[in-house]
């Protein structure tokens, strides 16, 4: 049941990403190209997604628990620190270079384009590297991903 639902929810997300243009690096990069071929479409993706989630979370989160899990798993971290800002800054640079973000690239897997696989392989290598680096830097302290 959980597996089938997760799959269907993934289909909705993937269709939304593709429809919105988030799986198309040319469109994503143009969103950031204010000085050139600016395409504001992604602003509308964010507006639509944020609007629905804001209202939907307002209805769902006050409930005692999710329908198919014992509790809501919400990030416990609230720290605004160098890790957050530095990590986000690096992410933005990578996003501006490649034109893919993680949520844009996963649905693009279904397009069977080698560029997507190359990006995702590099991204996962980066995640493994970050985990190793993080373990070395902070012996036992909070790991990334909460």
């Amino acid at each position: 049941m959980r597996i089938v639902l997760a799959y269907l929810i993934g289909v909705i997300f993937g269709t939304g990403i593709v429809m919105g243009g988030m799986a198309n690096p040319a469109k994503v990069l143009n969103f950031f190209d204010f000085a050139g071929s600016w395409d504001p479409s992604l602003l509308l993706v964010m507006a639509g997604a944020l609007g629905v989630t804001l209202v939907g979370y307002g209805i769902v989160l006050p409930r005692p628990r999710p329908l198919l899990a014992p509790a809501f798993s919400l990030p416990a971290t609230t720290a605004i620190d160098l890790r957050l800002v530095g990590g986000s800054a690096l992410f933005g640079i990578g996003w501006g270079l490649a034109g893919f973000c993680p949520g844009g690239a996963l649905p693009a897997l279904g397009l069977f384009e080698p560029a997507v696989y190359l990006f995702l392989a590099a991204m996962m290598a980066g995640m493994v590297l970050a985990r190793a680096l993080s373990d070395r830097l902070s012996h036992g302290a909070a790991r990334p991903f909460g």
Partner: protein, 143 residues
Amino acid sequence: METAFTPLQSFSGGLLIGLSAVLLMAFLGRIMGATGIVAGLIFPASLSDWAWRAALVAGMATGPLVWLAVTGRWPEMQVPVDPGTLIIGGVLVGIGVSFGGGCTSGHGICGLARLSPRSLVAVLTFMATAALTVYMVRHGAGR
């Protein structure tokens, strides 16, 4: 390379993304964050935890096929960068979202919807560096 402004289609896509985030929270109690979902696939906590994440990603990858079935054509995708840039960008994205604890979906949609100050800082930061990077690559010195 010019791309067409698609306000209605992009807004509708956004509505679907939002719907999926709300449903994932309502049923499984999870944040719809691509970073966390992939991290849980690479570093599995348990088989059942791995399974719903794999199913979710499989569903995501079905998105283009749904689009093909409905509209009769593949979704548009142009990659205006060379493979080397894709690899460097990919590694930076992987490291960045790990330390930053999220990406466009986790911080940008779910975090902002929870009114998290941490997510707001993350979003403003990665939007700014992405725009700056595109500016440097396309309009920087020597271009």
